[in-house]
């Protein structure tokens, strides 16, 4: 019989090794998968993991896609540490893009230096407001925020769709559902020549660092950690459960909204019916692969970004379907969860209940 037995003291080292094991296992599964599809595994792996970042442009793309991932995951991790389960970052990102896009379109061709900061602030506030809905429903009506935040993703996408098909549609856009291209003053400045990388990366890294300070050094962050680790102790210390939910949801929403603004003002430069290839959901994986820790999240966002790039490259070079990206993402999370089981539990093979040695 196989039994799982809780380890009394899970090793911290093992907790950090587990994402590496998961990443390794994902690669191994990739090799098997490519071989089964009749592709040369070495060439396929190279197309997936090496070629996308073999050039300066590739590095730029890697960092560009990692930017919203690390930003959103950082915000979500603060809530997750406090047992606030915001699953709707994708919707908050969409609202952030809408807010930023609204500012950009309202200012039109103005070259005011306030346009860009205004867009970022509006994006963060819109994401925050969207996250406030599940927070309110949770604190007032005890509605599960996992469900409400997730459902609001689809509501957000429909709102965006309504706007780009209607009020905000580019009148000279041949009826395509998309807004006007933003003016130069509404675009994030480039960071690395010959790439699409913009200063959004710097903003994201600053916010990751600020989040680390918040969680580790601020009293509010401490209280949120207590609320996550021991709810009864939080109540004993007078830490408000409602406040914890509000803070966790709003921080996550603001970060996701900011990421949405960054997409609108960055690589996309206009509003489209879909502003993200699922960054809001992928960031959940990033948060957990990164152990809810800022440094881990930065590394995990690079890995996840590579999976996006590799998926695109695999489509082009190997003719694999686009589902391969989601497949790798899901596989990575699955292996991580499996590896975590072994961090917290050990397997014991028990043949007999008792051995008598007479």
């Amino acid at each position: 019989m196989i039994r799982l037995e809780a380890r009394p003291e899970p090793s911290r080292l093992a907790a950090w090794i587990s994402p590496l094991v998961a990443a390794g296992a994902t690669v191994v599964l990739g090799v098997v998968l490519f071989a089964a599809l009749g592709k040369n595994p070495v060439a396929a792996l190279s197309a997936f993991f090496v070629e996308p970042i073999a050039s300066r442009y590739g590095i730029g793309e890697l960092l560009l896609k990692a930017t919203p991932l690390m930003l959103i995951a950082t915000g979500l991790a603060i809530g997750y540490r406090a047992n606030v389960w915001n699953i709707g970052a994708e919707g908050q990102l969409t609202l952030g893009a809408m807010g930023a896009g609204g500012i950009a379109l309202a200012f039109g061709d103005s070259d005011s230096a306030l346009v860009l900061p205004g867009m970022l602030v509006a994006g963060a506030l819109c994401g925050l407001a969207w996250a406030a809905i599940p927070a309110l429903l949770r604190t007032r009506f005890n509605a599960n925020e996992i469900l409400t935040s997730l459902m609001l993703v689809y509501v957000a996408n429909l709102w965006l769709s309504l706007l780009v098909h209607g009020a905000w549609r580019d009148p000279e856009g041949y009826n395509f559902p998309q807004s006007k291209l933003f003016a130069a003053s509404a675009l994030l400045p480039n960071l690395l020549p010959d790439t699409r990388l913009n200063i959004g990366l710097i903003v994201a890294l600053v916010i990751v660092a600020a989040a680390w300070v918040f969680v580790r050094k601020s009293f509010a962050g401490y209280r949120m950690r207590v609320a996550g680790l021991a709810p009864a102790a939080a109540n004993y210390a007078g830490i408000s459960a409602d406040r914890t939910v509000w803070l966790g949801m709003l921080i996550g929403g603001a970060c996701a909204g900011l990421a949405g603004a960054g997409e609108a003002a960055g690589p996309i430069g206009q509003l489209l019916p879909s502003m993200s290839p699922g960054y809001g959901f992928a960031a959940i994986i990033v948060a957990f692969v990164g152990r809810l820790h800022p440094v881990g999240i930065v590394l995990a966002s690079l890995l996840m970004s590579l999976l996006y790039l590799g998926g695109e490259s695999a489509q082009i070079r190997l003719g694999l379907p686009s589902a391969v990206t989601g497949l790798f993402q899901g596989t990575l999370l699955l292996f991580l969860l499996a590896a975590d089981v072994f961090v917290n539990f050990r397997v014991r093979l028990t043949r007999a209940w008792i051995r008598l040695s007479t």
């Binding site: 050094k217 601020s218 950690r225 021991a230 102790a233 109540n235 004993y236 210390a237 209940w353 008792i354």
Partner: protein
Amino acid sequence: MAARENRPPAARLALRGITKAYPTVVANDGIDLDVAAGEIHAVLGENGAGKSTLMKIIYGLVEPDAGEIFWEGRPVEIDNPASARKLGIGMVFQHFSLFETLTVADNIALALSPRDAGRRGLRRRIREVSKRYGLPLDPARRVHTMSVGERQRVEIVRCLLQDPRLLILDEPTSVLTPQAVDALFDTLRHLAAEGCSIVYISHKLDEIRALCDRATVLRAGRVTGTCDPRSETASSLARMMIGHDLPRPKHRAARAGADALVVERLDVPADDPFGVPLQNVSLRVRTGEIVGIAGVSGNGQQELLAALSGERAVDAGAVKIDGAAAGALDADARRDLGLAFVPEDRLGRGAVPDMSLAENALLTAHRRGLVRRGFIRGSAVRAYARETIRAYGVKAGGPEAAARSLSGGNLQKFIVGREIRQSPKVMIAAQPTWGVDVGASAQIRQSLLDLRDAGCAVLVVSEDLEELFEICDRLAVIAHGVLSPAIPVQETNAEQIGLLMAGAASAQAGASA
């Protein structure tokens, strides 16, 4: 077979040279222990003396590094609790191993072999056993609604249902009324007479002298003596256990001052169908006195404590702290008024298990200058924890040690120290010495007395009558959610309080009001 016949009559359980070392400490160092059939055998020792480790080895939870275990003369390896149970070893833990969301019957069924776990028959057997041994239990009740004392009953009944041949009890009487202790002792003597061996862990030396046939004393992982406790005195046992004489708390007469904690006509509805509603509870605690609340657990103590601590909001005027209406405030705001609170659950409520002692100091002591402009002052937090560890003799690796790595008594000393060092005006302590060894208990009681003498109003809610009589100036009894008036301890005695606890409350309380 021949060799076996030449042996002396086998003890039910014999340990030889049991050794278990952890990275920082040798918990058991060559321990020998013999428990005869039908014997009630005490294992005595301070926290950290190695009792718990030894019991975990017997129960298959911990594997010894060296040594042998003999069960009725045969060497055995006990790999896990299931094999221990199969041999006939039952254990009642100090920290309970119950599933809170399940009912009493479900929890008991989980520990039984599938054959015995049939529900309807099981409920009947639970009622039978609980009745026979004077441990009232409703099999359909969910564990999360039960108090510590009631949960312990579940553990005891669970063991008894398995017809154990060796029963290990860890501090079983700390949550019982004097009358119930007598009943339990009758139960245990009855079990022993039927041939069941009992290993009895306790710090209450009087109980051990009243109940046990033999005692093995541990100190720092070694056996320091085996004796017949009936021919020893409490102080000679204490000396074997801690190596020196026990400090007696210095109890001077109280100099009570103004009202500091006032509870007026507090009604709290029950949270759930099994909770106890508080009815018209009134109480005042003055500066410089200790008021005790006695009662069998599950009579409204949890509800009262939550209403006093601020974990549960009540009518603003029902609770006054230092003159200010505090009933509607949360726990943090009440602390701003000068309240400190030591809860009965240490891990998970009084302390965050996965956080360090330094971080746990911050939990309530943050108003002592440990936070500046919203940021944690790391060095000040560590200093506060270090000073608490030093002043209260907490055995811990230092401020960075995780709360869960401390023994129950040491964590309690830390929590008591953390609260007292905030110089509260009102201190509420629930079960301050539950499961704490005799040395640490004396220390905790002394610090509560010192706090009182410094002018603090102290309220102690405890199920340990000896403790209440030792430190309190006035005593009230809670039964079925009704609190009796507080009587000066000189004017009452354990029998009267015991009767009040057992529910004869209203008549008596009415008479003395």
